[in-house]
Amino acid sequence: MFIDISNIKKHFGEGDSRVDVLKGISFELNKGEFCVLLGPSGSGKSTLLNIIGGIDNADSGYISIGGEKTADMNEKALTLYRRKHLGYIFQMYNLIPNLNIKENVEVGAYLSDNPLDVDEILKTLGLYEHRHKLPNQLSGGQQQRTAIGRAIVKNPDILLCDEPTGALDYNTSKEILKLIETVNQKYGSTIIMVTHNDAIKNMADRVVKLRDGVIRKNELNQNKIKAEDLDW
């Protein structure tokens, strides 16, 4: 077991406006596993992802990654943990507007002592010919591919994806999902992807369904299919 998520609780607000977003979430993931967190809006999936990523704190419970508990880490150690182990992909690409595509990927490479080859990543992502362009010269899908490149170039142990296809059309979404699948297979990264698109669960090794802050279903996907075969 690589990631141990144990009895995570989290609330927002106080008094009448208190909302318990996570009510004791526990599950485990193995190294290299592809996990999809499914659930409707407000189910707590993004909050859980943020706690796993060390950018939000749980009220109680703990997350252990490779035996290290994030709750025991101070801010500096958490930054170091994210730097060493995590790659992040968001729905919004959040690229740096005045750096070109290659430089945006290098921003990720800089964080690693042992980064992957930037040009190779760009080729894998189909961005090599666009490497000198600025983000605003590319389509949404190309920008998201750049964001993926920035996340994976540091060869992270875990890739956290928060609705990575949320802002993309069907075809582009499938392209992105294929890339994430490739990353998982080629580099062996553990992937946790938050989505409300039910179809995506089919390409995952594990599906965790959340509703109202509790796990409704946590199961291994016995009928895993390739991303290119997904349909919705």
Binding site: R82, R83, L86, L95, V107, R150
Partner: protein
């Protein structure tokens, strides 16, 4: 691998070229002026300090009624432990009614510094002080009429014992147009000295005091004065430590440094806040990127360094260019400010490490510190806060309540103000600081003109004579009086107070003198905060005797720090005979007194020379201050208003989409800034006046004499007009910016 974010820095500077160019140019101007001033100041100060040894400047001089014989001089040398040097001079009337004090070449003491040309030969040549020549538009090779002789100017010189052209050591200020010094040949001197000669002797101690101006120098001079008074009849006795003609320039050269430093640092603080506000705006714009970088593992320190880089690079480049310009172009410009006031000996430009530290290292630290504090605070939010664009530390639960009876446009404007309070606070601070500079520059000339006017209107008599010996006059308008110069108490700073004794029911002094109490001049009362009933003690510096007076009233006499009492009272205090007197007051020139018996003849010209000289020497500097003040207003208001417009570009775009007209949008964003700016300009006035009053008083306390800081209404009005006009230029540019915001701005991703 180097941090790839560094590649953003030149692009960031290029992308915000307008902002960085404006700040860069302002900083280059500021630093080059300051650096030039410090280099000139340091080089001139060093030349001044070294001049004591190089030109063998005297330890003091005294003037006798008659030429002493060799035996007397020998006795003075032996008993006083000094070596004496004959330094006779003749004072003659010259160009524009000015007085020219002429010496023969000084080979041993107070040696002549030849700046250009040569020393005179024969009886038709003269070498003149550089500043006197400049003030009277004279040129080398030209002619000057002295008394009835036409002389050719063959040399431009500086006398090290007249670096400030004080005619009398008791003068509040010198007047380079009305008084000058020169060197003539012995032959010419002999012909002049038949009508007017002063038996002046310089001395150098055999065993000089450790500190040239310290207490031991004062004590030593005091001891020596006792020796000389026993041997000869003194007209004047000026120890080197108290000789304004020698010391004033040296004290002033160092003194203005603090003013420049304070101005530089305050402007750097303002610029640092402008950078802090603009960088803060960039952080808001780039919140998602920052959140992503932080979530990916970039540390807070890495991001702080990244966002600090562009302002610091711009500052450093500005510092380097500013220093180069300072050492080349502005050094001469700033040295001219001193050389326009003082007759300084020649100097060489020196590398000034302090100037580099003050104009580069310290501004760098100030900018880095203020920006670091701001960035550390802003970037201490969690990555999640940045990703959610949730950048407020304290979330307001409800919107700030505004009365719904207020029209929507007014409410909109109020919301813009509340949203931009930090920017507006910086605008207020910038305007306040600019107003202090602006008002200072505007108040200077009117203040001097008022002083000149008040001085003339409140002269005791149009002609005031101080005699070398009490001689009678037949002039029926002449009135006897006694005058003595005493010193205020104090260790570090003392100054001369003129004590007058007038006859009862004087026709020139219009206040009752009781004898129990004295009246003080308004300038003395204002400077030292004297009130009726206060006690003052003054000291005779030569005899060490102290005199105590009780203040009984204040008399309008702005030109001099003075005490007025009855002649009987003053004679009694001075232990002089009842009918003793030292001079005459008269409404017309007294013509039946031998000129050789007149020690000084004070007229309107003498009393107003302070203001004339200050206007002459400080005029250019005040123009520089005005430009700096206006530049600060334009810079601060423009930069911060630009931030406000950028911050609201989506709202402005949306307002355009909704159908708001350009005028209506301007009325929300520009008029808001207009209101804040104009309110700041007006609201700053009392605060500025208060600050300026304190600064002026503190500054004047270090100078002898007093100019009251009465800020004229005209200075306020011009200050408001200049500040408002500066803003109008800014508003015009901002209006153009608002008009250029595209309609699709509102449709863009927040990213």
């Amino acid at each position: 691998m180097k941090n790839p974010l560094r590649r953003r820095i030149p692009r960031e500077i290029k992308g915000e070229a307008g902002k960085y160019i404006v700040i860069f140019l302002f900083m280059v101007a500021l630093i080059s002026i300051t650096s030039g001033f410090f280099v000139a100041d340091g080089s001139l100060k060093k030349a001044y300090d070294e001049s004591f040894e190089k030109y063998n400047i005297e330890d003091g001089n005294f003037e006798l009624v008659d030429k002493p014989d060799a035996q007397t001089l020998n006795a003075v040398e032996t008993e006083g432990g000094v070596k004496l040097y004959e330094n006779l001079y003749t004072t003659q009337e010259s160009i524009g009614g000015s007085r020219l004090r002429m010496f023969t070449d000084r080979k041993d003491v107070n040696k002549v510094c030849i700046l250009e040309g040569r020393l005179p030969e024969g009886n038709s040549e003269i070498a003149l002080d550089r500043l006197y020549m400049k003030s009277n538009d004279l040129e080398k090779g030209g002619k000057i009429t002295v008394a009835d002789k036409e002389l050719e100017i063959v040399g431009i010189i500086a006398l090290p014992d007249y670096s400030a052209l004080y005619e009398n050591n008791t003068d509040f200020m010198f007047d380079t147009e009305k008084f000058g010094v020169g060197i003539i040949s012995q032959e010419l001197f002999d012909s002049f000295s038949k009508t007017n000669i002063s038996y002046c002797y310089s001395w150098k101690y055999n065993d000089p005091p450790k500190n040239r101006t310290g207490k031991d120098a004062v004590d030593k001079a005091s001891e020596f004065s006792k020796v000389i008074t026993q041997k000869a009849q003194l007209i004047d006795f000026i120890p080197g430590c108290e000789n304004s003609a020698i010391n004033f320039s040296g004290e002033d050269i160092g003194g203005d440094r603090v003013m420049f430093l304070v101005m530089l640092y305050m402007l750097i603080v303002i610029i640092s806040f402008v950078f802090a506000v603009t960088t803060g705006n960039t952080i808001v714009k780039e919140a998602n990127v920052i959140g992503t970088l932080r979530a990916s593992g970039y540390t807070k320190g890495e991001l702080i360094r990244h966002y600090m880089a562009a302002p610091l690079i711009v500052l450093l480049v500005a510092c380097v260019i500013g220093n180069i310009l300072g050492y080349t172009v502005f050094k001469d410009f700033m040295a001219d400010a001193y050389l326009g006031s003082y007759s300084l000996v020649s100097y060489e430009t020196l590398w000034n490490a302090d100037a580099f530290i003050d104009t580069t290292v310290v501004p760098f630290i100030i900018l880095a510190f203020i920006n670091f504090i701001m960035l550390a605070r802003k970037l201490s939010l969690s990555p999640l806060n940045f990703l959610r664009r949730d950048l407020k530390r304290r979330q307001r639960k409800k919107a700030f309540k505004l009365n719904t009876k207020i029209g929507i446009m007014k409410r909109y404007r109020l919301r813009v103000i509340f949203q931009n309070i930090p920017g507006y606070v910086t605008i207020f601070a910038g305007i306040f600081f600019a107003s202090v500079i602006l008002l200072f520059s505007l108040l200077f000339n009117p203040l001097l003109e008022q002083l000149e006017k008040d001085t003339v209107n409140n002269m005791i008599a149009e002609h005031q004579y101080v005699l070398k010996a009490p001689v009678p006059t037949e002039n029926s308008k002449a009135e006897k009086y006694t005058v003595i110069t005493l010193k205020t108490e104090g260790n570090d700073f003392t100054e001369n107070i003129t004590v007058f004794g007038f006859v009862p029911e004087s026709r020139y002094f219009h206040a009752e003198l009781s004898g129990d109490t004295v009246i003080v001049s308004d300038s003395y009362a204002d400077k030292y905060g004297l009130e009726k009933g206060d006690s003052i003690t003054l000291k005779n510096e030569y005899t060490d005797k102290e005199y105590s007076f009780t203040v009984g009233g204040v008399y309008t006499y702005p030109s001099t720090l003075a005490v007025f009492t009855s002649i009987d009272d003053l004679n009694t205090r001075l232990e002089q005979p009842e009918d003793s007197f030292t001079g005459y007051l008269c409404s017309e020139e007294i013509e039946d007194i031998d000129q050789s018996l007149i020690a000084s003849h004070i007229t309107k010209d003498d009393l107003t020379k302070t203001s004339r000289q200050l206007k002459r020497s400080m005029g250019n500097m005040m123009t520089v201050f005005q430009i700096v003040g206006i530049a600060v207003i334009v810079l601060v208001v423009f930069m911060l208003s630009k931030v406000i417009i950028e911050k609201n570009s989506q709202s402005i775009s949306m307002a355009k989409i909704l159908g708001y007209k350009k005028g209506e949008i301007s009325s929300i964003y520009i008029h808001t800034t207009t209101i804040v700016t104009l309110v700041s300009v007006v609201a700053c006035l009392p605060l500025t006046a208060f600050t300026l009053d304190k600064i002026w008083r503190a500054m004047m306390m270090n100078y002898t004499g007093w100019i009251a800081p009465n800020i004229p209404m005209s200075a306020y009005i011009v200050s408001v007009i200049l500040a408002s006009a500066s803003y109008l230029v800014t508003a015009f540019i901002l209006k153009h910016r608002i008009n250029s915001i595209p309609l699709d701005e509102a449709l863009k991703n927040v990213e």
